[in-house]
């Protein structure tokens, strides 16, 4: 079975025990396409780089149990809301799997962290983390999600959860859905003409009147530049 499918289906099974899928709001963006394994040359790779990507995609680092745990955790970190999908809808587990091979220093903290989490949940609930009820999972997560309040004996878990939180946030907010959620509006042709007036007002700022004439007059951007002998722009 395709690895991606595996992750998805695993997640669906694990969901049955915990989260309830939220119904789709009308404008809900609930899943994304990420780079598939066979399309590694779509972003200007050199032949060596394309090969590296391909090799990484062909390896598998996490066990199914580990990836399942990553999926459950990432959806606790970013569950879906009325407008946007969850971390797994944004294929965060795939991203974490890839990063563990791309930056191997993530491997040990993630693998060890998952083991740590399972030991804790065995102690507390006599069950692996993914097999716990949602309430049990949350109660354990609450002990490691707040670095300033966590008990000293939870330190290893705090570290692990912070790493998972970081990777989940990057994994989510770098997808099409996440970017929309965030509100980033760039990466497209634009004509920058300064901070919008309402924003300037809100921040009690203005462009120095002395500076205004110096700035580019965007209505003349297509008029070829010409200068007088003293370097004054005359076009």
């Amino acid at each position: 079975m395709d690895r991606r499918e595996t992750i998805k289906s695993l997640f669906v099974t694990s969901l049955a025990g915990g989260l309830v899928l939220q119904s789709c709001a009308p404008d809900k963006v609930d899943s994304v396409e990420v780079v598939p394994a066979d399309k590694t040359n779509v972003y200007g790779r050199t032949p060596e780089e394309a090969k590296r990507d391909k090799d990484l995609f062909s390896e598998i680092y996490f066990t199914e149990h580990e990836i399942e745990t990553i999926a459950v955790l990432s959806d606790i970190i970013l569950p879906s809301n009325d407008s946007y999908g969850s971390a797994t809808d944004a294929a965060v587990p795939d991203f974490v799997e890839f990063m563990s091979k791309d930056l191997p220093y993530h491997q040990l903290p993630l693998r060890g962290g998952i083991m740590w989490l399972d030991s804790q949940s065995n102690k507390l609930y006599n069950s692996e983390f993914v097999k716990c009820t949602h309430e049990q999972q949350i109660s354990l997560v609450d002990r490691i999600a707040y670095p300033l309040d966590a008990k000293p004996e939870m330190a290893a878990g705090v570290k692990f959860f912070s790493l998972m939180r970081n990777l989940t946030l990057t994994g989510y907010y770098t997808t099409e859905m996440g970017i929309k959620d965030l509100g980033y509006k760039g990466n497209q042709p634009n004509v920058w003409d300064g901070v919008p007036d309402d924003v300037l007002k809100e921040h009690n700022l203005e462009y120095d009147p002395e500076w205004i004439p110096k700035f580019v007059d965007q209505s003349k951007r297509d008029v070829q530049a010409q200068w007088d002998d003293d370097g004054n722009l005359i076009s």
Binding site: W192, V216, D222, G231
Partner: protein, 572 residues
């Protein structure tokens, strides 16, 4: 191994196609010379869909643009970095120089920051004011006409400011500052630090029919597909080829040495083809080295012959010495006034819209040379690292650190675009004791002996970095911001980055009138072989508190005109 000869004789062989090589190619080819450009890296055109990274989204990269492969991330257009597999360099024990190379047509100009500053009159004569280092054998007035021509040919935005050591030029109009830049301006003003519009080489206005106009994607480090920013390939070499120049491009060709005759004059170069790993010889009446300061020094040192036993151009023993980089250190800041921002497209140009040129008098300070301040921040496109430790910012505004779920989603939006940073870039003193040389024990994968570096900062640079941090904190305070992290102390050299890190390495083949103390004359011509020229930053006597590339371009143009002149007079 047999060296393969090409029967063709070139008027000039140019080694390297970055800023210096690109400019020489254009001027010399347009003067009708038969030019061979020998470049170690592949052909590169940012418009080519196979190489293009501009306007890609983070999710088009499986690592979301992380810097695992390319040092400034997946979308940055540098084929190279601090380390290149198969091409090592070594260090003298106890010293550290980080060498950034990128091998591709256009060299590092494909992804440079485009900060395009002229050196000022004082920058050529620093010894006059503080007795340190040496003066250049030329002055601002010698270079000014070429700066003017570079401005008009390539395009740079900026404003006339009439400052004593920040010469004005032929500027395109600058873009308006972004919101965090307005905050910076306000803070800086309060503490007496001047701010002026930045001077960067992107076309905010049409300059000719061959190049597009900037559409404000903020991605110049990816190289502009419509050629609206300066890269040596798109703005110099392609146009020169288009206008009928006789240019043969040899890409993936690594020059090992310059060959010389029994009189010691250059006859051509030997290069190794990356494609078949064989050696080839090219014949040329002249050789122009533009492989970047350290690479050109390496080629010279590896070009030994009975007439040049210490390496070509090295009778003085000066080749490789006086290597120096700009100083640099940075601080980031959280600006509570910028939380919960309204989002809009503020990508702007791929760089800062305002900056602070050096404004103080070193006679009143405990370090000899100045620095400028660069500003960064804004609501940028998310990529690998986005959201890392975002909730920690809460400790500055009384919120809860950590958490998950809806609270975390809110944190991300709350703090998006609320951090910014400042970087100081300063002038160091060129010292004979800082150098690169050939490591006799190590060769690269092409069998070419590699460079070994020896470089140490002095208190001049450390105290300057200390001052930078004091300035940063006072400006950040005045902005109502919170400086993040610790202010680096003496134990950390005040945050001064390793030499090499600012990627303004210059000085390895310094210019001078005295052949015993310099490698090239004031026209960048070797004292020891009059048909060899160096047009990268090797000839710089001192690196100002500016970035070097505009001066590389101007001097390369000046040298190219000198070459044409000397050919007419039959002096070469």
């Amino acid at each position: 191994m047999q060296i393969k000869e090409t029967p063709k004789q070139y008027d000039v062989i140019i080694v390297g196609s970055g800023a210096g090589g690109g400019m020489a190619t254009k001027i010399l080819a347009e003067a009708g010379l038969k030019v061979a450009v020998v470049e170690a890296g592949p052909y590169f055109d940012p418009k080519d869909p196979k190489q293009k990274t501009q306007l890609k989204w983070p999710y088009e990269s499986p690592r979301r643009g992380a810097s695992s492969v390319r040092p400034f991330g997946d979308f940055d257009s540098a084929y190279g970095g601090w380390e290149i597999p198969g091409e090592p360099y070594t260090q003298k024990p106890g010293t550290q120089f980080d060498w950034f190379r990128s091998h591709m047509l256009g060299g590092r100009t494909n992804h440079w920051g485009r900060i395009s500053l002229r050196f000022g009159p004082r920058d050529f004569k620093r010894k006059d004011s503080d007795g340190l280092g040496d003066n250049w054998p030329i002055g601002y007035e010698d270079v000014k006409p070429y700066y003017d021509k570079v401005d008009k040919l390539i395009g740079v935005f900026g404003t006339k400011e009439n400052l004593p050591n920040e010469p004005d030029g032929f500027f395109l109009p600058p873009p308006k500052p972004r919101l965090h830049e307005l905050y910076y301006m306000k803070g800086a003003k309060k503490v007496g630090v001047p701010v002026i519009p930045a001077r960067l080489s992107m076309l905010t206005k049409r300059i000719n029919e061959d190049r597009g106009i900037c559409f404000y994607c903020g991605q110049c480090s990816r190289a502009c597909g419509v050629y609206a920013d300066f890269s040596a390939g798109t703005c110099l070499i392609f146009p020169a080829m288009k206008s009928g120049g006789q240019i043969d491009l040899f890409v993936n060709s690594v020059v090992r040495e310059v060959t010389t005759d029994s009189q010691g004059k250059a006859t051509g170069v030997i290069y190794i083809s990356k494609e078949d790993k064989k050696e080839y010889a090219l014949q040329g009446k002249m050789v122009v080295l533009a492989a970047s300061a350290c690479s050109s020094a390496r080629i010279l040192l590896n070009s030994k012959s009975p007439v040049h036993p210490q390496g070509l151009g090295n009778n003085s023993g000066i080749v490789g010495k006086y290597l120096h980089d700009s100083t640099g250190t940075s601080r980031s800041a959280f600006i509570p006034g910028l939380i919960n921002r309204k989002t809009y497209n503020e990508d702007g140009v791929g760089g800062m819209h305002v900056y602070t040129p050096w404004w103080l008098d070193n006679k009143k300070l405990d370090f000899p040379r100045g620095y400028h301040i660069e500003v960064w921040g804004g609501m940028g496109m998310p990529s690998y690292g986005f959201g890392f430790n975002v909730s920690e910012m809460n400790k500055h505004v009384g919120g809860t650190v950590g958490g998950y779920g809806n609270k975390l989603r809110e944190d991300v939006k709350k703090f998006y675009g609320s951090t910014m940073g400042v970087s100081g870039r300063g002038e160091s003193i060129a010292l004979e004791s800082n150098y690169c040389e050939i490591d006799p024990n190590v060769v690269d994968e092409f069998g070419i002996p590699v460079l070994r570096f020896n470089y140490q900062w002095t208190d001049h640079e450390r105290l300057q970095a200390k001052h930078m941090h004091e300035t940063f904190e006072s400006v950040i305070d005045a902005m109502g911001g919170v400086a993040l992290g610790e202010k680096p102390g003496e134990d950390k050299d005040y945050g001064l980055l390793n030499p090499g890190r600012i990627i303004h390495e210059v000085g390895t083949t310094r210019m001078g009138n005295d052949p015993a103390k310099s490698v090239v004359n004031k026209f960048q011509q070797l004292h020891d072989a009059n048909n060899v020229f160096i047009v990268d930053a090797g000839p710089f006597v001192s690196q100002a508190d500016k970035n070097p590339t505009w001066t590389i371009l101007a001097l390369s143009w000046r040298t190219s005109e000198y070459i044409i002149d000397e050919l007419k007079k039959q002096n070469i």
